[in-house]
Amino acid sequence: MRPSEAACLARQALAAGDSALAGSIAERLLAEFASYPPARLVRALLAERANDTDAALDDLRAVASAEPANAEARAIQARLFQRRGDMDRARMAARQAVELIPGDPGVLESALEVLNVQADSLDTSAAVLARVHLNCGWPDLAERHARTAVNESPERVDVRLTLAEALWRLGRLSACEAECRVVADQAEECVRAAVMRAHILSERGRTAEGQELLDRIGRIDPEFREARELLGTLEVHRLVLPDVADITLPAEILGQSNGTVETAAVPSPADGLHSGASLDSDPAPASAQEDAGGRGQAEMPGEAADQVQPSPPENALLGSRVQGEAAGSVPLTGEEAAAAPEQLRRDEGSEEPELTDTEEPSADEMLPAGPEGASDSNAPEDEPAAGASFSTFDWARHLIERSDWREAERVLTDIVTANDPDVSRVDGLLLEAVAHRDLRSSAWKLLGDHYMQTGRPQAAADAYLRAANVAGRSEG
């Protein structure tokens, strides 16, 4: 039995008033997966019923750490704080639950009850707008509102996570990584942040580390539901989702239940690779409130190339306008890539397959940096499997890691000259490059060139000025 099915059985037992059975199943699950959020939620609800507020809050804290966007956990926290008479925190938690846009009407109702308001009397906050836009597949708008929300409530880890995810979907991996670190500081078991970090590591050629991180997520999310949801939005990635762990419930527990899970007829999350299937089929009530978001995100593949491409400025100044257009190559699905890695490697020099994911859709980045076929002669030996999706961007990062400044500069120049339509991705790479002293001057200059290409003369002037200053200091 899948852990989510067992958790669903526990919720059914809880709803039927069979606390003993619900508790047995939750304990059995937690014995196997100590931080499994749906089981922790069941235990928290049981503790709430038993008036053990402290125990319930402990479990909810763990759930919120693993799933900062879990609206139900926030709603229960709100009820518990209210019961304690801590109305400030109760309202704060309730507000957070509402802003997480719970799909379960019961959760919304519970939070509104604490707030003592009707749903239509609530203001639409930046946090809500960010979440809505993210769910609709508009990460650029989500990012804008998430930044406003972060400024308003810097302590809100769920808002940080929304910002991180928007950045991730935009392909701004360095910025995303920084936000993920902030999230991890406050919610160290955050699964979603860990999945994004695993992907970022793999994109930087540190696939083994990324895979290891992904494997560790299994302790909290044994069905890798969030990993499937996020990675399912990518056309291709290098991570391998581990096998889903099953759980065997003792016969006496199964005997007490009617033995069926109401939603078990629906395929388990583990049965489908892509997020749409996994989320829609997830029977765990604890995650029901995320379904809306999940579906929205699952619609992302194929859209992202358009999302990240900025609109050309209205007025073409001396600073110019964006000219790039999304390259029209046929994207590969994850399964296709996995099924035919050799084919991919064979084709990478002659065609321009879309490589990594929908957020990073450049087609020409697949090609080696230069006519010498640098990736053939100098490809990292520890990455034989990465050949299928080793992009020019990865190559540049690899050269930077190896302190091969001249070659790195050449590859960066190629990237800027190619005028990749994924503007933010190029921004991110060049901003990474300026952090390295030996590359700083040329990277600032290239950043200036890139800003000019993309109609941002003020930023370009600043970048050129920095390049000139760095060059001046070096000469001095």
Partner: protein, 114 residues
Amino acid sequence: MPASDLHEGIQRLSGVTGAAVWRAGEIPTGDLGGRGGPVGPGLLSASIATMEQAVETMGLGEIVEIWFVTEDTQCLAMRSGHWQAVVVGGLEMDVDSVRDGLTNLLAANAEPDA
């Protein structure tokens, strides 16, 4: 015509000691007579573009040309269709004749949809 060819033509204008030229959406290329090093053409064109942006934002319209003079240098920035150019020269540079020459060069190389 490639920007490099146009740059050569501009450099031949009387009194011009340095020039940068580029199409909208491309990287400014050229040489300002060694001033500013490799960053010079980009820095000057980006700074002028910033001024253009400010002027447009204020609703003052679109700048057609900018000319300024320092204690030893004159600078003229122009746009014509897709082409944009910045030229520098000494105080002896005849700006009117450079303007005419530059206008002709840029117009002669205007692209059909410009």
